[in-house]
Amino acid sequence: MTIDWGAFVTVVAASLLSACLLVTLFSVGLRLNDGNAPWRRPVSAAIFVACGLVVAFGIYLIVPIFHP
């Protein structure tokens, strides 16, 4: 019976980081989308694009053809 605790800790850290990154980005994007200052909209749009990139990375990981 061997448990790879190292791998487990890596999994926890990686999922914490990636999930919190996505949620933080999306939340900040929503927050900036709501306001009158002219700089807010473009910044929030850029952040949503970053969210899209995170999701794209997720798709990259899911589809095995992309990483043989």
């Binding site: 019976m1 061997t2 448990i3 790879d4 791998a7 487990f8 890596t10 999994v11 926890v12 990686a14 999922s15 914490l16 990636s18 999930a19 919190c20 996505l22 949620v23 933080t24 999306f26 939340s27 900040v28 929503l30 927050r31 989308n33 709501d34 969210c51 999701v55 997720g58 798709i59 990981l61 899911i62 589809v63 095995p64 053809i65």
Partner: protein
Amino acid sequence: MDVSLLVALVIALALVFDFTNGFHDTANAMATPIATGALRPKVAVAIAAVLNLVGAFLSTAVAQTISGGLIKEGSGGVQITPALILAGLIGAIVWNLVTWLLGLPSSSSHALFGGLIGAAIVGAGFGAIDGGVLVSKILIPAVLAPLTAGLVSFLATKVAYGVTRKRERDRFKVGQIFTSSLVSLAHGTNDAQKTMGVITLALIAAGFQPTGSGPEIWVIGACALAIAAGTYSGGWRIIKTLGRDITDIEPAQGFAAEAATTATILASTHLGFALSTTQVASGSVIGVGLGRKGASVRWGTAGRIALGWLITIPASGVVGALAAMLSQVGFWGVILDVVLALGAILAVYLVARRRRIEARHFTQPAPGVFVRPKRRKKKSVRTPATDSAGANAS
């Protein structure tokens, strides 16, 4: 018994299992967007079905031994026969249907492992099972999966509520569509594989396919269709449990839960520590329930789910073992096995008809309206939004 008839039965039952796998696991991805109103119920299951169909074709991994080392094979090991695979599948199908009837999100993989383990024990005794692998690959991860996902989704919820203001949070629904689709796609690339593995294993065991070859294209297509059809039929009972009964979910929580589920599943598959999708998804929902102020987790429901996980392997194992004993009688034993399995399916269907839970029973909060925080003092008082599924169904 004629081998080709036996293999045909295995393939048919494997596809039935694939179907139950599909409707059992729709909830993992789609319970939260349905609960928050990000997607209408029928739309949600349609998206999940398409992504499962696509996912099944995307994966190029060859048919791995489904036993994953759990059942000792090869020289000095067990010769796993098509009859034993058939028995294992019956155990898995019956347990999947029973847990669906009870609305329990239990792992379909565990049901399959349990069924095969039970059949292997009957076929070759307890020596056939590698106890160490059982503990390290199934039992310990079953504890760690919900804890990990719960921790991740708890923190993600804290972040989401810390950063945004109340009037902005409805827009999380848009994000939910993407995150829940990601969970579905990840599920699709994984789960249809299991059935492909089983069918290929049976074909190899019967000598129709050379050892070590991958699944045939018709096997891939049939499995993809079966899991997609199962997904589209929607395991509404389990969606209700996961989306409504554990805790009341707001869009921000739904987004956090799906982000946590996706992140945990992807991290676990790519960093070498396999975790069950169902257990991760359930853990995420509990985590978001703990993470929002004013939300409460119904621990009774959570406990029932945990109990379901605990007995999944023994229960499907017992059914698999009984089926294996019958199948050892010979031709009529196998036929009786299949007849009994069909009887069990019919029985569960008839019981389920008495108290239906379907798509139309899910009333969704209108845009901009949040699920009200549960009152703390009067525990018996439920908001109409949370109870409507149950009330309409009765």
